[in-house]
């Protein structure tokens, strides 16, 4: 073949390959720079939303539909507790305005406390005699741990309830059954195990001589070595609550090889998710090749996980090599949140601007855990960029 023709053919091959790779495989990852100011503004907007949309009884609109301008039925205390958690985390980080809606929401939660034996649980709203979700108590315990003067008596009661629901092998029940007075065996939540571990780790930070770390260690051993297979989670869970737990555990001890390997695996799963999510723009072509953008709660959870693992990797020698890249991925995740939060100008397009400004919408709806996870994630990245 003549040289000129071969060269032209080569150039065409390069052009076609480069275009194909760029268009279908190596799409740009939109990781804009995040700043202290942009993060603080976003957090302030969510706190303002939580203040504006909170009812006199301390509840929020659980799920708001912008199309019907209505509230989608249902209210779960686990997510109510989750939003208190985010607000208390904000309060602990110096966002004082978060404390008012948090305290009103606390007052609402206290209406549903269940006391039995030596423990306290956050019960159910609709049917007090039905099995109690473990997660609501775990998240509320974690929320209380961020208060400036934590209510240690209530926290101990909640911690005892959580400990009752941890089985000998370290697995955690999804529900406690009042009919039997026992945790329900054989049913597991993808979230409650990590929430329980983290909440008890927070308890240990505040009461380090009471032995809560032993329960934490038992759960972590189970999660790190057998949980996904034993409970049938496939693909493996990118457990952001366990990531939070790592952030606490590394304040009092180093991780062993299995635990560190598990932390890295969670980081890899979170990284995979955010590298993919950051390519999504919601254009027609992006939807075709990458799907719809994830919920605010989803991106928020990725951000929380990466931030928590960054925290852990700053302390644990086995994770030190991962510190910088975890920080980068967390900032990329925060960039998605900042880009997608509804600002004041965008909110005017909706029937009820006050209900959407500061939120994250998905298919025209926002749920309180969108704001919960996003706010917690943004707070974590604020810590990263401020060193």
């Amino acid at each position: 073949m003549k040289y000129g023709r071969r060269l032209r053919k080569g150039v065409v091959a390069w052009a076609v390959a480069a275009a194909g790779v760029r268009v279908f495989i190596a799409q740009p990852e939109h990781c804009a720079t995040v700043t202290d100011a942009s993060l603080r503004h976003a957090i302030d907007e969510t706190i303002a939303w939580a203040t504006r949309t909170q009812g006199d009884d301390g509840r929020w609109i659980y799920k708001y539909d912008t199309v019907t301008d209505g509230e989608v039925a249902g209210y779960e205390l686990v997510r109510h507790a989750g939003l208190i958690l985010a607000l208390n985390q904000a309060g602990a980080a110096g966002f004082d305005r978060a404390l008012v809606p948090a305290e009103r929401a606390n007052a609402y939660a206290r209406r549903f406390l269940v006391h039995r034996d030596d423990w306290t649980a956050l019960g159910n709203i609709d049917a007090p005699t039905t099995p109690i979700d473990i997660g609501a108590s775990a998240l509320w315990l974690a929320a209380l741990s961020y208060e400036r003067s934590p209510d240690l008596d209530t926290m101990r009661g909640l911690a005892r309830f959580l400990a009752v629901n941890v089985f000998a092998n370290g697995s955690v029940a999804e529900k406690w059954d009042p009919a039997t007075g026992q945790p329900k065996p054989g049913e597991f939540s993808p979230f409650f195990t990590g929430e329980t571990m983290w909440a008890l780790a927070r308890m240990h930070r505040l009461a380090p001589t009471e032995g809560w770390d032993h329960v934490v260690d038992r759960i972590l051993r189970y999660v790190a070595t057998e949980r996904d297979e034993a409970e049938g989670w496939f693909p493996p869970l990118p457990d952001h609550w366990v990531s939070y737990a790592f952030g606490e555990i590394t304040t009092w001890r180093t991780l062993d090889r299995d635990e560190a390997a598990y932390a890295v695996r969670v980081g890899e799963l979170e990284s995979l998710q955010i590298r993919y999510e950051s390519q999504r723009t919601n254009s027609w072509f992006s939807k075709l090749t990458r799907g719809n953008q994830a919920l605010g709660a989803g991106v928020g959870a990725m951000t929380e996980a990466l931030g928590a693992l960054w925290r852990a990797s700053g302390r644990d020698p086995r994770l030190r090599d991962t510190h910088d890249v975890l920080g980068e991925r967390a900032q990329c995740a925060a960039a998605q949140l900042l880009a997608r939060q509804i600002d004041e100008r965008e909110a005017q397009r909706y029937v009820r601007p006050a209900a959407v400004q500061g939120t994250w919408l998905h298919d025209g709806k926002t749920q309180i855990d969108d704001q919960q996870h996003a706010t917690s994630g943004l707070l974590a990245v604020l810590e990263i960029i401020n060193g």
Partner: protein, 164 residues
């Protein structure tokens, strides 16, 4: 490998794919048993190819940053390109005589980004050296090398998927 690692910007597992994998892929991409005769007849230059690889490795960091593509995602892209190229080698009627093909470019960017310029130069030199060292044209062996490339490329792709 430890000595070479000092020249790499970031060669600590679990953050990068193995340099050995890149070396093996340079060997399979050159695919001397399949391509040697065609390259010789066309007069394609190993030296120019090697220089091209080094240039791409040199600019890999700034280029991928400019394109907003992270190192793990470029590993995934390279894996796909290498699989496609191997499929073409397996099924194509003609053997492509060009050495500096898109798949070697993708591999140069990936190795450069993950391991640095000098390790990439070495890996490419090893791959290109097989043209001189392997003196027997063999389509069956060339096809076996292409099959091996598919397996190795999938490893690279998976490494990129499950990377931090």
């Amino acid at each position: 490998m430890g000595e070479l690692a000092q020249f790499a910007p970031n060669s600590n597992p679990p953050l990068t794919a193995s340099l050995w994998l890149s070396i093996a892929l340079f060997v399979t991409v050159v695919n001397s048993p399949l391509r040697r005769e065609a390259v010789r007849k066309a007069g394609a230059s190993s030296t120019i190819t090697w220089i091209g690889v080094i240039a791409l490795a040199w600019f890999s960091g700034p280029l991928l940053d400019r394109l907003d593509v992270s190192a793990p995602n470029w590993r995934i892209a390279t894996g796909f390109v290498l699989v496609a190229a191997a499929v073409i080698d397996l099924t194509g009627k003609r053997v492509e005589p060009l050495l500096f093909r898109p798949e070697i470019g993708a591999l140069a960017l990936q190795t450069g980004r993950d391991h640095g310029v000098l390790p990439t130069a070495l890996a490419a030199a090893i791959g290109l050296a097989t043209l001189a060292l392997w003196r027997h044209q063999s389509k069956p062996l060339g096809r076996a090398v292409a099959l091996a490339q598919i397996g190795l490329a999938v490893l690279l792709l998976l490494d990129g998927v499950f990377a931090l």
